[in-house]
């Protein structure tokens, strides 16, 4: 991410408390050029961009996660503390832009004074100066500049006020490194001084406050060698250094010193007791209206990704189908043409088809985050979700998961606690997504009689609803189990600020949408494309001459039966799939799936539907010799193709004993299997991206498959 060899580029970091409007300032400075990555080894997100000053000087601008203090209480804050404790870190900044909310200046200076002591050149930007003016808050910037010995600039990220001046001052700052080294804010206690000296001498740390930081954090700082950690541990224990107590004492000492300084520079009118935010919250966090409004909003979110995004998704699918047809018309009928149409184009279409859902979901979530509503959601649902190892924000992921797990899992990014985020990611795919609908419709129509209970309630709809309940219950149960299993690796806090409600800034919202879409395409897209091509190859090629023989045999058979061209094509398609690697695998795995009541044809469909669940019905349509109905069958509504497929399914018999395959037990077993199994490569690809390793994606796949297998087996045994 940073320059290799030679001169490494200048790095400037934006830093400040959560809710300081830091990201808005970053967006003002950068726009579309920003890149999103992870800090090495961890899943804390970092945004950076190449920046060119008006003079032509170049630098990398980094947006650090929002932080209250260098004494971290979350993984985001740990990252900041770890980077700043290690001048050799690739993200270690040459200069800092400190963003403070000027309307609450005395709450925003703690981290600033800590940074002063690290002797990194720093500039104090008083953000939200426009709101301050409206509230009648007057700030004497030059007085603050004299007090702290740093440039102080009132700005507004929202209106763009003074952003140019900020860049000019920032460039000047880069030339004045020496000034930073001379000032200090905090006077360490005697015991701290001893610890600082010992760490400085033993580890060769120059800056005293950095030495103190290392003394506090040595245990988990990633860049220290085990020997160094032992040295620091020995120092702190011999000097009787009580880390937590020292942190609190230092924090209070800092407040005592800077509060009068900030008060002397800020003239604040007495606060109005009843602001619009209080009046809005009286409804939005009300014990009855609060949850009701939330579920109404979530209904809208669901509607957006389930219903509205269906239109652009249809265009994308239609577009790719058209393109695919065009390619097969223009190119000779050969394996490489099929590779393009059924492998590459199908894969690309399979990636792009998620874009409308992702864009719409993040548009809505972005607005909710921007106005300040999401922290209220966390407040309202903290207790409920914490029982199941999750966070109030997980509600959004779970509800979005009923449309599609892919954007839903991406939405868990906003959960600060790593463990809560992980559990949310792991359990979201249990929620029945829209890709399961065609599978459910076909199977329920097959297994459940179309009767009305008491003349009103359709039994089929009831079972359909029960599938959703099953998914939801399993998700919560899995969350609870994971919480027990993982225990607590870091202390969990609710303690969040409930920011003042504001109009959303469209630039922030749209940049976020753009960034998420790009992250999906570049992060998960490659994997989806590769798996799509692999699945195509498995169902296109077979061992030895198997495919060619199957082809010839089918042609011969069709001639004897006097079939027309379409029927011949269907038969050839069916026989080729049966002879392919996927078909072979289906036969090989029959002994393993027979206990669930499945034959080898269902086995093939289980394999191919790893691409996406709805492929299950499409594959069965091919295997049961109705290939041309493939498109209609994946529709979300009941239709003729599904009815035909059900007729064919009823006629299927096991090859060895001639018993019908689709009994009530088999159909119910398949329903449960599809509700619980991880049959979706796109979800796995996104899990891999969001958790930063294959470990969790693999574990999720194995656990979900095992659970689905056992549950399906139990259902089969119970009903047969």
């Amino acid at each position: 991410m940073n320059g290799e060899g030679g001169m490494s580029p200048l790095k400037i970091a934006l830093i400040g408390n959560p809710n300081s409007g830091k990201s808005t300032v970053f967006n003002q400075l950068t726009g579309l050029r920003q890149r999103t990555g992870n800090f090495p080894g961890i899943t804390v997100e970092v945004k950076e961009t190449d920046y060119r000053f008006p003079s032509g000087k170049e630098a990398i601008l980094i947006d650090f996660p929002g932080t209250y203090s260098l004494y971290p209480t979350s993984s985001d804050e740990k990252v900041v503390a770890a980077v700043l404790a290690n001048p050799a870190d690739p993200f270690f900044p040459d200069a800092l832009v400190y963003i403070a909310d000027v309307t609450h200046l005395e709450k925003h200076l703690l981290l600033f004074t800590q940074l002063l002591d690290l002797h990194i050149p720093i500039l104090l930007a008083l953000n939200m100066s426009d709101s301050a003016a409206e509230l009648g808050i007057k700030v004497n910037a030059s007085k603050l500049a004299d007090t702290f010995g740093v440039p102080v600039i009132p700005i507004s990220g929202r209106t763009g006020q003074n952003i140019m001046r900020l860049t000019v001052e920032l460039e000047k700052l880069l030339d004045k490194k020496d000034a930073a080294a001379s000032r200090s804010f905090y006077n360490p206690t005697e015991s701290e001084k001893q610890v600082i000296q010992a760490v400085q001498q033993n580890l060769g740390v120059e800056n005293p406050y950095r030495a103190l930081q290392i003394a506090h954090h040595a245990e988990w700082l990633p860049f220290l060698h085990p020997a160094e950690k032992e040295t620091v541990a020995a120092i702190t224990s011999t000097k009787n250094f009580h880390s937590l107590r020292a942190q609190v004492d230092e924090t209070l000492e800092r407040y005592d010193r800077f509060t009068p300084l900030s008060q002397a520079a800020v003239a604040q009118p007495p606060a109005f007791p009843n602001t619009p935010t209080d009046r809005i919250d009286a409804v939005l966090t009300h014990r009855f209206w609060g949850p009701l409004v939330f579920f109404a909003i979530m209904l809208l979110v669901f509607q957006a990704i389930f219903e509205w995004s269906a239109y652009p998704m249809d265009w994308i699918e239609g577009g790719f189908a058209h393109l695919s047809e065009l390619v097969s018309d223009k190119l000779p009928a050969a394996w490489y043409t099929e590779l393009i149409t059924d492998g590459i184009l199908a894969g690309l279409g399979g990636i792009l088809v998620f874009v409308p859902q992702i864009a719409l979901l993040f548009l809505l979530i972005g607005i909710l985050e921007e106005v300040g509503y999401m922290s209220r959601v966390v407040f309202m649902f903290d207790k409920t979700m914490r029982r199941f190892g999750m966070n109030g924000r997980s509600m959004v992921a779970l509800i979005s998961g009923s449309a599609c797990a892919v954007p839903a899992i991406m939405s868990s990014r906003t959960i600060g606690n790593w463990q809560e985020r992980l559990i949310t990611v792991m359990v979201t795919p249990f929620i029945s997504c829209s890709a399961r609908i065609p599978v459910y419709l076909v199977l329920i129509g097959l297994a459940v009689p179309a009767v009305k209970l008491g003349g009103i309630l359709s039994l089929q709809s009831l079972v359909f609803g029960a599938m959703y309940v099953l998914g939801l219950l399993t998700a919560f149960l899995a969350g609870w189990a994971m919480k027990k299993w993982l225990r607590r690796r870091e202390p969990s806090f609710l303690a969040i600020e409930l920011p003042v409600y504001r109009m959303p800034l469209w630039k922030n919202v749209l940049l976020n949408v753009w960034e998420k879409v790009l992250a999906f395409i570049s992060g998960a897209g490659k994997i989806i494309l590769i798996v799509s091509i692999a699945l195509w190859a498995l169902s296109r090629f077979g061992p030895g001459d198997a495919i060619r023989h199957a082809d010839q045999a089918a042609q011969e058979e069709a001639r004897q039966m006097g079939l027309d061209t379409t029927a011949t094509d269907d038969l050839v398609q069916q026989r080729r799939l049966e002879a392919s690697w996927a078909g072979q695998a289906g036969k090989w795995m029959e002994p393993a799936i027979r206990p669930l009541g499945y034959d080898w044809k269902i086995g093939i469909a289980l394999l191919t539907s790893f691409a996406a669940r709805e492929v299950f019905t499409g594959t069965l349509a091919v295997l049961y010799n109705m290939g041309d109905a493939e498109a209609d069958i994946n529709d979300r509504s009941e239709n003729e193709a599904k009815a035909t497929l059900r007729e064919r399914m009823k006629g299927e018999k096991f090859s060895d004993n001639g018993q019908p395959v689709y009994t009530l037990a088999t159909a119910l077993s398949l329903l449960v299997f599809y509700a619980l199994a991880m049959q979706c490569m796109s979800t796995l690809a996104v899990v891999r991206r969001e958790t930063g390793s294959w470990k969790w994606a693999f574990l999720q796949f194995v656990l979900m498959s095992a659970l689905a297998y056992i549950a399906a087996w139990l259902v089969y045994v119970a009903f047969s």
Partner: protein, 77 residues
């Protein structure tokens, strides 16, 4: 024994009191970094819909706190 302090769960809606100390170092670290300090005026706004969390204002800043977080802030009587 008579307690010499109260905590947020003891406050009625819209009642406020001055914080005097914390009884848990880890929570104290978190809360002080967010600006809840000994001497801060803490006002109870409302309980969360399903209980166990509090909407409070500390020196005018709106915060959501869990039961145990709220109970770790000792308030004057």
């Amino acid at each position: 024994m008579q307690r010499r302090y109260r905590t947020i769960p003891d406050l009625k809606i819209n009642e406020s009191a001055r914080a005097i100390a914390f009884d848990d170092s880890a929570l104290a670290c978190k809360l002080t970094s967010m600006g809840v300090l000994p001497g801060s005026r803490v006002e109870m706004i409302r309980k969360s819909p399903f209980g166990n969390a509090y909407y409070v204002k500390a020196d005018g800043v709106r915060l959501a706190l869990r039961e145990e977080e709220a109970a770790s802030i000792l308030l004057e009587i």
